[in-house]
Amino acid sequence: MNHKRGFLAFIVAFVFIFFFGFVWHGLLMKPMYIATSSHWRMEPVFPILILGHAVLAFAFTGLYVSKVGINSAGVGFGYGIVLGILACGINIIRFAVEPLTTNILLMWFAGDIICFAIMGALVGAIYRPLTSA
């Protein structure tokens, strides 16, 4: 395992997912969240929000590095797509039990698949196993 490349991929994944989340959820979806304001905090708890993104980026990168471990943006892209679809399954469960709107659910589907696909491509492009370094 190439720890240096893995760490670099994790940092890039973290920066990307945080920026993507800001644009997707903080800007694009803002009117939807305002319409369902009773379901959300008035202001996010930013230290915890950053921690959550870091844990997510760490697990996403760690799984790729330890189990896939190929230097390929294409493979990473595919990995991100399937993890995005897995996340959609979790979103469906949340929609079944929480009073969310259909628009929010559909935007979460699109956001998760796009975000994880790009994140996977980035991680796949950056990570190189030691044998090919």
């Binding site: 959300w40 996010p44 929000l49 921690l51 399954g89 979790i90 469960i93 929480e98």
Partner: protein, 132 residues
């Protein structure tokens, strides 16, 4: 790819997830959910068919990622590591939810720990059942 073994592993994971979540969310955390009822649909409005669809999608892709992504899979130990890492991935999402939703800390911690245990066991099941 061994489709027969894949299908058996997928069904086993789905049955486990359904049973685990019924006990974990429906029984163990029932009182905790009562404290934040504004964030949940009333019992009569919970969409059970959709809940099952979500679990089916999750179980299918959980099994698919292990089988297609990791070749031989690494058996039970590989499945356990895979499940723990995916549990951590799930936990990241829960922490983000806690940051933006007025969840209680008890619920957030329970979801994280329960999710990691759930997916670790699901990983062991896939690792034990799937043979390339």
């Amino acid at each position: 790819m061994n489709w027969k073994k894949f299908f058996i592993a997928f069904i086993a994971v789905f049955v486990f997830v359904f049973g685990y979540e019924w006990v974990f969310h429906g029984i163990l955390l029932k009182n905790s959910y009562a404290q934040m009822s504004a964030l949940m649909r009333p019992q009569a409005e919970v969409n059970f068919p959709l809940l099952i669809v979500g679990q089916l999608v999750g179980a299918f892709f959980f099994t698919m990622i292990f089988v297609r992504g990791f070749g031989s899979g690494g058996g039970v130990a590989g499945g356990l590591r895979y499940g723990v890492l995916l549990g951590l991935f799930l936990c990241g999402g829960i922490i983000i939810s806690y940051a933006v939703q007025p969840l209680t800390s008890t619920i957030a911690i329970a979801w994280c720990i329960g999710g990691i245990i759930e997916l670790a066991i699901a990983g062991v099941i896939v690792g034990a059942l799937y043979k390339p």
